[in-house]
Amino acid sequence: MSANVISLLIEATLQTCYMVAASTILGTLFGLPLGVFLATSQRGELLSAPLVNKVLGLIVNAARSVPFIILVVAIIPFTRALVGTSIGTNAAIVPLTIAATPFIARLVENSIREVDAGLIEASRAMGATPFQIIRKVLIREALPGIMLGLTLAVVSLIGYSAMVGAVGGEGLGDLGIRYGYQRFMPDVMLAVVAILIVMVQLVQSVGEWIAARVDKRAARNRGH
């Protein structure tokens, strides 16, 4: 493998990391509040707003049922309006974020719904406002679950980010297609796949480690 190809691989890996990191951060920024709202706004819940809950739930479901590759193409005008172009890493972040947001929202919603209702009751009895309950109790108690959810989201985004390579994004997917497939360089293709596998393994392990670290439910015999 030539030095040229190696530097291409490094560059593509960094581009993938950038796209995944940016869309994870943005997706969490939008997905976390959305998930919290979905988890607390059914009838009789803390932020009881059944109608808004229904509508947002439908939108989230709709967004999640569009295949990613179609989403990328369908929102090209929107992407162009937002970042001025529809190709490159910055452009890829738009569909990645749009795919990540509802996904993360649902994961956050599930984690929060698993928090014991008794804790909400206890906090209400303490005189907490709904916002305090969300901030100090629900999110804190759901944190290990949210961490595992985010790990799952990052792993999916690594896969998605490779897909945007097919439609003018950059990164490992783009490299794999242009060199590995179109110029038929199987060693490049192999290297791309290997790097992706390592990335996914790494993310999964680190995510699980963090989730275990923040979880105080199991007796602490992890040593520290």
Partner: protein, 353 residues
């Protein structure tokens, strides 16, 4: 650590009713026309069967449930009509502990107890000494940085109690706080509650379905059945004068004084021809509880008495005894009059051959 600065608040239920509307349009009436006064500084035990409405009643004191009719006053403030900040202010004056503790699994003992103070917007510098004081109060100094998963049930409930006391409430509510604990731990938790009530002078309302809990710490009590208060008053009075079958069945549970099975099967309510023996429940109370009244009955009236079951115990400082006896049915009226004259309570349970 005897401080008496926060004193208890009185709680008044006035003709309180509560119905829940089910999803299918059918309603459940949980409470009907409940009137009850809990004196400031009292420990009030509320006892009743499952589904009687105990939790519903208790949850009205801090507005977790609103009455459908009537008024609930805590320290003169109308909880049922309070909203928003006003309601949250009342809730800071009313601590609550729960059967399943409801501790935050992700927070340490210290942080759990600090939570109500954080919520009340107290500055962190003032939270720390307060929480340390509470941890000491409930005897968990060495567990300060542990997490709930690392505590026993009794320790968890101590954290729950410390947390409930954090904002110096005037009332402490306990919904079956000892039901998940073994008898020994139950005793230590009850002792802690009694000490707290004595030292801080706060009002405690506790729900239980164990009469022993009421007997051990409550100064007043209410028996609730099917959404009604069927008996209420000072614990001792209810114990010795209870008339309602629900109360009686709880009482026989706590005193363990029930008829032996071989007798209860043959007992008839009416005296039939040929029945020789009258079966009585004799309740000893007050100064006569420890007098050898049955011995005197035998000598004074020359009636022989069979003792079937019995126990003597204490409610607060008062001895309280319960005996089941049988004696010659023809002499029954005479013997009962004798015992009543000497300050004992009698009740005819039935007749046997």
């Amino acid at each position: 650590m005897t401080r008496t600065e926060p004193t208890g608040a009185s709680i008044i239920f006035e003709n309180v009713g509560k119905s829940f509307s089910g999803a299918d349009g059918t309603g459940v009436t949980a409470l009907k026309d409940v009137s009850l006064t809990v004196d400031a500084g009292a420990i009030c035990g509320i006892i009743g069967r499952s589904g009687a409405g105990k939790s519903t009643l208790l949850r009205m004191v801090n507005g977790l449930e609103r009455p459908t009719n009537g008024t609930v006053l805590v320290d003169g403030r109308d909880v049922g009509r309070a909203r928003g900040a006003e309601l949250r202010a009342i809730r800071r004056d009313v601590g609550m502990i729960f059967q399943h503790f409801n501790l935050m699994a992700q927070r340490s003992v210290f942080d759990n107890i600090a939570l109500p103070l954080e919520i009340a917007g107290i500055a962190p510098a003032r939270i720390e000494p307060r929480v340390n004081e509470l941890i000491e109060r409930v005897g968990l100094t060495t567990h300060r940085d542990r997490f709930p998963a690392e505590l026993s049930g009794g320790q968890k409930q101590r954290v729950g109690i410390a947390r409930a006391l954090a904002t110096k409430p005037k009332v402490l509510l306990s919904d079956e706080a000892t039901s998940a604990l073994d008898p020994e731990t139950t005793q230590t938790v009850l002792t802690l509650l009694r000490d707290i009530s004595r030292d801080l002078g706060l009002t405690i309302v506790l729900i239980t379905h164990e009469m022993a809990v009421v007997r051990d710490i409550a100064s007043q009590m209410a028996v609730i059945d099917g959404g009604h208060i069927v008996e209420s008053g000072p614990t001792y009075d209810v114990f010795i004068q209870s008339a309602h079958p629900t109360t009686r069945s709880f009482l026989s549970g706590v005193t363990g004084v029930t008829l032996p099975a071989f007798l209860s099967g043959r007992l008839s309510k009416q005296r039939n021809a040929g029945d020789q023996q009258e079966v009585l429940r004799v309740t000893f109370a007050g100064p006569h509880a420890t007098d050898p009244m049955l011995a005197r009955l035998s000598t004074d009236l020359n009636v022989s008495v069979n003792i079937l079951a019995g126990a003597i115990e204490e409610i607060g400082p008062h001895p309280f005894g319960n005996l089941l006896i049988s004696l010659d049915a023809d002499r029954g009226a005479e013997a009962r009059a004798y015992l009543e004259r000497h300050g004992l309570l009698t009740e005819v349970l039935g007749y046997v051959r």
